[in-house]
Symmetry: none
Subunit: 203 residues, 4 copies
């Protein structure tokens, strides 16, 4: 029977991760110091080490949990749709609905940085490769369903198209996060959607 409830600890942990995310978004992983996170989270240095055994672990945990949750949300969001067309439209809608704030641009950079850092460590490279495949296969499945339902042309190569889709998403987000204001974010999504749909749909 702990002095402090499990629930409290969990909330503390979340709050630390939250703070870390903010700081990483501001300065990047390397440039963010533990002191930055301490300052932002209004706790103490020692406390962070009770929850995470190193800055790196904090970072990896943060990114791990974020990607998992995002992917989980993604899947849930799709349960209510039945046709492939609707699902793909929903996929685009996710990104078209984003609020184009500075905060989001920072978030993008945190994730992009993680992509880039990951191949430099034996461990994370594997994780990220799998993550990529997870996302790709998620879309592959949708496309395949579409093919079976006659919505999507049989000759479409599901994995290639899926891969192209995510490449476009990440490329666009990357550019937007750098260029900002003057980037034709929304128009690009609309046009790309049009182009891809025209390319794969039977009608």
């Amino acid at each position: 029977m702990p002095k402090v409830s499990e629930d409290y600890k969990e909330r503390k942990r979340e709050s630390l991760l939250e703070s870390a995310l903010k700081c990483f978004g501001e300065k990047g992983y390397q440039s963010t110091t533990m002191d930055d996170i301490v300052a932002y989270s209004n706790t103490s240095k020692g406390l962070i080490y009770n929850y995470f055994k190193s800055k790196e672990e904090l970072y990896l945990t943060l990114m791990e949990e974020r990607t998992n949750r995002t992917f989980k949300n993604l899947k849930e969001r799709f349960e209510k749709f039945s046709t492939a067309k609707e699902k793909i439209e929903e996929l685009f809608r996710i990104y078209k609905d984003k609020e184009l704030t500075e905060d989001w641009r920072k978030l993008i950079r945190v994730h992009m940085e993680f992509w880039i850092i990951s191949p430099r460590q034996e461990n994370t490279n594997e994780i990220m490769s799998n993550r990529y495949k997870q996302y790709r296969d998620f879309l592959v499945q949708i496309i395949d369903e579409g093919k079976n339902a006659g919505e999507i042309k049989k000759e479409v190569q599901s994995d290639i198209v899926a891969s192209i889709f995510w490449a476009f998403i990440d490329g666009t987000c990357l550019h937007y996060s750098v260029v900002g204001e003057n980037y034709s974010y929304m128009e690009q999504f609309n046009k790309t959607e049009e182009m891809i749909m025209k390319y794969i749909l039977t009608t």
Copy 2:
């Protein structure tokens, strides 16, 4: 060994930049130490500071020169082509011709890292935004020429398509640099080319 030719100094400088690039590719900008670069370039710590006044300047110079040179090469490569179709095919060819080596993946990451770091510094953000526009406008011009020549549909929005093109390129490179071996790099370029061409060409 002073009183050395300008040529000698230029080569030294190049060699330092070369070494730095290698090291940044290996560990990233922040994690690369001046000692790493010293070790790799077989020189001494002090010497680097005769050529670049700080690690940051070395980095910025490196990235600046690389991007400039790349863009210049890009333009030159296109002089021998006359139609828009040929030019766009050439653009794809550049990337399809890349040797898919570990070295190139590292190179991609160096450039991606620079994209991400840039918004965190007043100065570089501007530079990178302009760089992006340079590349985009380069393609915009080609598309516009194509429209005038009747090769490309009048209703195509040049800037949006150009922007989509580069988003796809960078997204694909980013993913490839992380996923590596099992990434369907070549097929994606082929399909994307097909898709885009079908989308914009009149015939």
Copy 3:
């Protein structure tokens, strides 16, 4: 060993300043390294930076506090005297009572060095000029009181004499700190006192 009393921290701070003073006395400001101070104070490099954000700040703080305290002590010491003659005698006594140790000679040099360094920095020059005027005016006031009381000749120029007094003090200390043993420190103070008194007193 955190959560430490303010008092503890204050003592730590004092002890660091103390150590720094010792080291500066030994080698001078520039030649003293942070490692010297660390070694002398039995702490760690990082800790010093918790209290002072740079070597320079440590130095300036040290000198600032020392001069302030000295001047404060000076003033207090004079409260119990009423006539100008007594006060001036007391002024001389301060210096005549000094123990002529190697430690004191080092201390002199630290202060002299600060005088000399100060004009090279925008900021400190102003401070030191004011310090000088503070000391001078302190004596000017005593002399003026003496004039009003009829102790000191009306025609004496207070500021000039005050300035001469401090010039003599610093000159003597400077020479003593260099020449050491064989310097006729005490006799000089006695004779100068005699000479100045004869020059300004009415009787």
Copy 4:
């Protein structure tokens, strides 16, 4: 038979010392780099080491020669005077005739710095102590002559008064070099002269 005349080398040497003096005046001994001196003297780094085997030697040589020359000039200047009174007046005149420029203030600081640095090295401390005695004894001799001639009171302690004189000189110069513009340099010399003369002269 050297390729380059001895005369040329001597002038080069002088010019290097001259440049060093300028630089030391600007930044102080420690903060002046060999590069500073090279830049100021329009020569090369290697060349300096042909003339002086280290920065320290350059510094010591400079200070040595300057003090020697100054002392030599001092003595010569006095040959044309016969009475002690005239000589002491001349001594004061030397300082009263100084042009109160920023350059001179820098010069003072170079010399003061040398005083302070000297006790920290076995070698220079001895030199400076002797230098001090040289100057003191020079004045002692004048005073003694004055006593013999009946100009100066027999009971005056020559060495103490001489020492006081130089203490006053250096103290005044030190303060002037720091305080600058608003320092009553000239008036102090006048008054001090008056005071000392009154104190020692028989009439």
